[in-house]
């Protein structure tokens, strides 16, 4: 702790960890499908033929609806260049997209007192950055720049894709385990019990399937927190100014959300700070989408 890390090293380490966690997620998924097949059909291949199309369909559906759903859930509107604050926001997004070497995202504004921002889009070529009007009023230019750099990094790192895919995998695992759970209740999966030698294996498979949804959810949240750190350090790299984002996060910490947040909970990981539940405690919870804000500030300050 307290060790100074180069931004580049932080980025590399974070990427490695994400790959590692994603591999774990994939293994978990394959494990669930295998266990399912073993209990149900005593044949893994039928289960694979069944589980993988479900997962792919789920991803395709969530993915193709993403942008419009997210924007309308957040009640966002395109930024108006005739208002000076919003024009400056457009300028800042333009600047950061040049720094990142990405095409210019569309700029949206959400009318809200809170300081927050999110990014969405299927790929960098048609992405959207949305900032609340509260941030435009309360943040200084370098702080706003830090926030936009963070969002730009989410786009550059394909976090939107990672979030959608992991959410879909979590959903599929939950679905499979639920199907299995109910079929066990009805006694539909009793065929495997004919052979006594397999009883232990089947018991293990059942326990695994009950625990898998919890593990997959935790893994997903862990990925989400990792990506958050990654976007922080990448954003600092883009703006060459970690202090801007650190100061913005400090303001967010002091400015607790007022009123009901608008938007859908699925995209909470894409916000700069979770608009539904702020994580300000010193110790991070394994159930939160974002790392504790104090730790994020500490890491940015140590760059």
């Amino acid at each position: 702790m307290g060790k100074k890390l180069l931004i580049e090293d932080q980025i590399r380490r974070n990427k490695q960890l994400t790959i590692f966690i994603c591999t774990f997620m994939a293994l978990l998924f394959i494990g669930v499908v295998f266990a399912f097949g073993y209990i149900f059909f005593q044949n893994v291949f039928i289960a694979l033929a069944f589980g993988i199309p479900i997962a792919i369909a789920y991803v395709a559906v969530t993915y193709s609806f993403s942008i419009r759903t997210v924007l309308s859930a957040a009640k966002a509107r395109p930024a108006n260049p005739n208002i000076r604050e919003e024009k400056i926001l457009i300028y800042k997004v333009e600047e950061m997209s040049i720094a990142a070497g990405l095409p210019m995202p569309k700029v949206y504004v959400q009318d809200s007192e809170n300081i927050n921002a999110f990014a969405t889009g299927k790929k960098p070529e048609n992405s959207v950055i949305c900032v609340t009007t509260g941030s435009l009023r309360k943040l200084k230019p370098d702080e706003l720049e830090g926030v936009i750099a963070h969002e730009m990094s989410h786009i550059k790192n394909h976090d939107i894709l990672i979030a959608t895919v992991t959410i879909a995998v979590v959903g599929t695992i939950a679905l499979i385990s639920e199907i299995l759970f109910y079929s066990l209740l009805w006694g539909g999966a009793g065929r495997g019990r004919r052979n006594d030698g397999n009883a232990i294996l089947i018991a293990i498979a059942i326990i695994f399937i009950i625990l898998a949804p919890i593990f997959s959810r935790l893994t997903y949240l862990m990925i989400s927190r990792r990506r958050e750190y990654l976007a922080d350090s990448n954003g600092a790299y883009l703006s060459r100014n970690p202090d801007g984002l650190a100061k913005a996060l400090e303001k967010i910490k002091l400015d607790q959300p007022k009123g009901k947040p608008k938007g859908s909970k699925t995209v909470a990981p894409l916000y700069i700070a979770n608009p539904f539940k702020m994580n300000i405690s010193e110790k991070g919870s394994i159930w939160s989408t974002h790392p504790p804000i104090n730790e994020r500030i500490r890491r940015l300050r140590s760059m």
Binding site: R84, K87, I88, Y91, E94, E95, I98, G101
Partner: protein, 187 residues
């Protein structure tokens, strides 16, 4: 007979393997090189845009700033050297000069409340700050692209392919430390 077949297949697989790697690296190196050219084009666009904005600014300011001849002249001079610059480094140096000249112009403008209230001046100031930031960030991206290109062709195994393709490392732009500090425009 069988042995010959096996050896033949193994050799073909090995050749195919190396061909694939070469293909990958060839494309990667060319892509990175194109990215450098593209980011230079970006800088160029912004530099032009900035030079185009200056006459407008001068026109707006002229009526108000009667006693700041030197400041105005410096801006015009810096713009002229930007228009004449040829190499990337010359461009950047001229641009730094212009940044300095504009900085003092905006500093002096604080003494002219009428000018500060002029909408046209305000939006020009915003836009000039914007192009200035864009130039700074595109320079940064240009240097990032060069760094990534150089890393590819200087490390193993890219080194091999780069030699084969006759590619040499490129030089980064020399950006003075202080120019990284963005001018403070209050809004």
């Amino acid at each position: 007979m069988d042995l010959i077949w096996i050896i033949g297949i193994v050799i073909i697989i090995i050749i195919a393997f190396f061909a694939l790697i070469y293909w990958g690296f060839y494309n990667r190196i060319i892509r990175k090189e194109n990215r450098i050219d593209n980011s230079w084009a970006q800088i160029d666009v912004q530099l032009k845009r900035r030079a185009d904005l200056i006459p407008n600014l001068m026109e707006t300011v002229k009526g108000y700033m009667k006693h700041e001849k030197e400041v105005l002249e410096n801006v015009t001079k810096a713009r002229a050297s930007l228009m004449n610059a040829k190499t990337p480094q010359e461009n950047i140096d001229a641009d730094n000069m212009l940044t300095g000249a504009l900085k003092s112009l905006f500093a002096v403008s604080e003494n002219y409340p009428d000018l500060k209230a002029n909408q046209n001046f305000l939006s020009l100031q915003d836009e000039l700050t914007n192009t200035e930031n864009k130039i700074a960030y595109s320079r940064q991206h240009y240097n990032d692209s060069i760094l990534s290109y150089n890393n590819t062709i200087e490390t193993f195994p890219g080194l091999w392919f780069a030699k084969r393709m006759n590619k040499k490392t490129k030089e980064m732009l020399n950006i003075p430390e202080e120019s990284k500090e963005l001018p403070k425009v209050s809004f």
